[in-house]
């Protein structure tokens, strides 16, 4: 960037900083003031100006590292991206207008300086947007993994009896996993009865029902029984309204009832200790 601009920023550091903070404070709304404290804002703004003024002495790489650090910092502080972007724009506007007022910018060099500003601010803008989107993408992919981890566990509760508790929304991705885990688990645990518990599924629409029917059919093909438990009364009513036929599947209203029935199928039952002694 032009030496002229640097010099102006360095010489008028405090002036620019004050103006900048006042202007940004005006722009900030209720919500933002909670997130961005006065003190933190002043400190970060001053750091930003320091970063720019050291641009001359540092080499390119050094500056880039500082820029990355700065971007990381604002992301960590949780400042909204629009606010930070607006801040950058405001900064160049204040500096440029200040230079106009002092006559440093005139008709002849106006275009050069505008161009300089642009080529200077654009990489900074990009870096900050980039840092924000990276952080978001990382969060989303981590959550996706976390969600996958708890999406369809298969629990062997008793010999030859396994349970798959489903909690939360079932989308296409999960439905696929449910099917895979179910079939793999049935074979691995040598289950005779599999109980799918849908107590934690908020909405059973035709798609969810369709996937459950398919899963039950596949379980039947590998030679096991499939039972559906945890059908809440309101879910039962919507299933009837939708006209979904679940006749092929044994259904129970609770997991407990399901397990009792599963024991019955595998010719066992739970008895009290006293009875045993007799």
């Amino acid at each position: 960037m032009n030496e002229l601009v640097y010099k102006y920023i360095r010489d008028n550091r405090n002036n620019i900083l004050d103006n900048w903070i006042i202007n940004m404070r005006e722009k900030a709304d209720e919500r933002l003031i909670k997130v961005v404290s006065d003190e933190m804002f002043a400190r970060t703004s001053s750091e930003f100006i320091d970063m720019i003024t050291t641009r001359l002495t540092d080499n390119g790489q050094e500056f880039l590292n500082r820029l990355t650090d700065f971007a990381e910092k604002v992301v960590r502080l949780g400042w909204p991206l629009t606010f930070v972007n607006e801040g950058l724009r405001e900064f160049s506007r204040i500096t440029f207008e200040g230079m106009m007022d002092t006559g440093l910018v005139n008709q002849d060099n106006q275009m050069d300086i505008i161009y300089d500003f642009d080529s200077f601010m654009t990489p900074m803008n990009n870096e900050i947007v980039n840092m924000y989107s990276q952080t978001w993408e990382k969060t989303v992919s981590l959550q996706k993994i976390a969600l996958q981890e708890l999406s369809a566990p298969l629990i062997p509760v008793l010999d030859r009896i396994t349970v798959m508790p489903l909690v939360g929304t079932i989308d296409t991705e999960r439905a696929k996993q449910i099917m895979e885990n179910l079939l793999q688990g049935v074979v691995k645990h040598r289950s005779e009865v599999v109980l799918i518990d849908i107590t934690g599924v908020p909405v059973v629409d035709t798609m969810v029902a369709h996937h459950i029917i398919q899963a039950a059919e596949a379980v039947r093909l590998v030679g096991a029984h499939c039972m559906l438990c945890g059908i809440r009364p309101e879910i039962a009513q919507t299933i009837v309204n939708l006209g979904i036929n679940l006749n092929e599947i044994t259904t129970k209203n609770s997991l407990q009832k399901g397990i009792e029935a599963a024991l019955e199928i595998t010719s066992r039952k739970i008895v009290e200790m006293e009875e045993m002694e007799e």
């Binding site: 929304t169 629409d205 309204n241």
Partner: protein
């Protein structure tokens, strides 16, 4: 007195957002758990249809107040391919995507009023109402 809020349906997770919105409004209006489940299931069906067949569209939820009754109106609209044979899609068991084919007739049974307006090549708008009893 009218109140409307909308959710854009672009990906599968927007279905959940639409459902959540519907459930909240239904709760505010004082619907019981069974009707809440009916309303959310209906929204789920309609939103999924948009996602599957039209690619994108929107689901709007409106509070209705008429003749001392209050109700909830779901408007699902898209600019998708439209439905060529309306009579057929209202039959149970008809599906072009290998599903159960209970979606639209199911929604009609879940709700009190059901109105389907479609234009092939232009899009579809479905309005379904549930009255609070």
């Amino acid at each position: 007195m009218e109140f409307q809020s909308c959710v854009k349906i672009i990906n599968e997770w927007d279905i959940v957002a639409a459902r959540q919105l519907g459930r909240n409004v239904a709760k505010e209006l004082g619907f019981g758990t069974v009707d809440q489940a009916r309303i959310t299931t209906a929204i789920s069906e309609l939103a999924r249809n948009i996602y599957l067949y039209a690619g994108q569209g929107r689901v709007c939820i409106e509070k209705l107040y008429e003749n001392g009754k209050s109700g909830l109106l779901i408007i699902a609209s898209d600019e998708g391919p439209g439905i060529p044979d309306v009579r057929k899609v209202m039959e149970d068991g008809f599906s072009t995507s290998g599903g159960l084919g209970a979606g639209l007739p199911g929604v009609k049974r879940l709700m009190d009023e059901f109105d389907l307006d479609t234009n092939v090549g232009k899009g579809t708008e479905i309005r379904a109402t549930k009255w609070l009893r």
